[in-house]
């Protein structure tokens, strides 16, 4: 069963003269362990797709299912629990809480979910460590560089027992080595069964995905086929 399923999802912002059709009849299914990258020009609806998948916004029409459950049929509390427990979200603008340190930002969702403070903190430190940020755990967001803030946001999204990871430009502010570390981390999460949707402008980041879909004007216009194994690159006369 797919972790995320979007069926004929459309999203219209505003009405009349100011109406913007951000998504049109989008279908998408992401299975456990699968990473899907979403590419497309600015304004093509990538972030809209992600906020709807993460239940932060409701679609104008169509259906969204997470873990088999219809979001439209869930209560506010159920949605809040889903977001806290099962869905990790990396926002395009990070969205860290300014009054909390890096490790507090990461461990907050675990604590809210009932984990003892000490264990939540330990999990938070471990997640920061994997992103090379152990020595920044006590810093507040305004004491971190842009790239460090981004990594804290990623640590927060992968910590705990997430089934769906939604990331909006997770490598946007990062140099290529750090960007690669982030994509490896998301890949690792997928190897443990997490389903991930990663929005990115960057082809190198997208190339970590199992499948890449292309959005234009709110529609999915194209997608990659499952690639053959890397052996084909080394075969003589393989088009190099």
């Amino acid at each position: 069963m797919s972790v995320l399923e979007m069926r004929a999802v459309s999203k219209v912002y505003g009405e009349g003269a100011t109406e913007v059709v951000a998504l049109q009849e989008v279908d998408l299914a992401v299975d456990p362990g699968q990473m899907v990258a979403v590419m497309g020009p600015s304004g093509s609806g990538k972030s809209s797709l992600l906020t709807i998948a993460g239940s932060l916004e409701a679609p104008t029409s169509g259906e969204v299912l997470v873990g088999g459950g219809r979001l439209a049929e869930m209560s506010r509390d159920e949605l809040a629990r889903l977001r806290r427990r099962s869905v990790g979200y990396v926002f395009q603008d990070f969205n860290l809480l300014p009054g909390l340190t890096a490790v507090e930002n990461v461990s907050l969702p675990l604590e809210l979910d009932g984990l003892a403070a000490r264990r939540a903190r330990a999990a938070g430190v471990a997640a920061l460590e994997r992103l090379g940020l152990a020595d920044r755990a006590g810093h507040f967001p305004d004491q971190l560089s842009g790239g460090e803030r981004q990594r804290v946001a990623i640590a927060r999204a992968v910590v705990g027992d997430r089934r769906l990871l939604l990331a909006d430009e997770p490598t946007g502010a990062l140099d290529s080595a750090t960007g690669e570390a982030v994509m490896r981390l998301i890949r690792q999460a997928c190897q443990q069964g997490v389903a991930a949707v990663v929005v990115t402008h960057d082809a190198q980041s997208a190339s970590w995905a199992d499948r890449v879909i292309f959005l234009r004007d709110g529609r999915v216009t194209d997608g990659t086929s499952p690639p053959p194994g890397p052996e084909s690159l080394l075969a003589p006369g393989s088009g190099r």
Binding site: A203, Q204, A206, G223, T224, P230, L233
Partner: protein, 190 residues
């Protein structure tokens, strides 16, 4: 990549046999460039003719060992610092296809661009998978894979830029005399 200079580099470490040179060339380049033994021997013959390597002369064929001469060492040092030829005029096949697609009636250039974009991303996925699987263990392979990924990435970025530029351009833009203008600007002579 110049096989000639790769062989000089391997011989800079000490005398070697032809077969050994082939194996080392392949392993040092992440086994991404297969090389046949014939290519190795023809290249060695030319290097010997030019005085850049010498053979021990005694045996023939696989028993023959080669070493670098002083001239060869100088050639190698100079090659390392010589910029590769990146200044050639734009004659890239993909660029030409897009230029043709823009003007060809009945062809949706954006659809052509997307087909190439998808193909390139699929290629990048294959390279990235290689990096994910084994590059941690092999520095040469990781360096080669990165180079390939950056190269393909730059092509995709160009396609994205072209896509946007074509969308913004007025539909009935005159063809003008771009070739002449460009030649004059970048100083290319016929």
């Amino acid at each position: 990549m110049s096989i000639r200079h790769a062989l000089l580099a391997l011989l800079a470490e000490g005398p070697k046999y032809g077969l050994q040179l082939r194996e080392e060339f392949e392993s040092r380049t992440g086994e991404v460039w297969p090389l046949n033994v014939g290519q190795v021997y023809t290249t060695l013959q030319r290097l010997e003719r030019d005085g850049l390597v010498e053979s021990d002369g005694a045996a023939e064929g696989p028993q023959k060992s080669f070493h670098l001469t002083e001239g060869g060492a100088g050639e190698l040092a100079e090659w390392l610092r010589t910029p590769p030829d990146l200044s050639s005029p734009p004659r890239d096949e993909l660029v030409i296809k897009i230029l043709v697609a823009v003007r060809l009636p009945g062809v949706d250039v954006h659809e052509v661009i997307q087909a190439h974009r998808r193909f390139l991303i699929e290629l990048m996925q294959q390279w990235t998978r290689l990096k994910n699987d084994e590059a941690d263990f092999d520095l040469s392979l990781a360096l080669v894979v990165d180079a390939e990924l950056f190269r393909l990435d730059s092509v995709i970025r160009w396609l994205d830029a072209a896509d946007g530029r074509i969308r913004r351009a007025p539909a009935d833009a005159p063809a003008g005399k771009p070739a002449v203008a460009l030649r004059r600007k970048i100083g290319v002579r016929r």
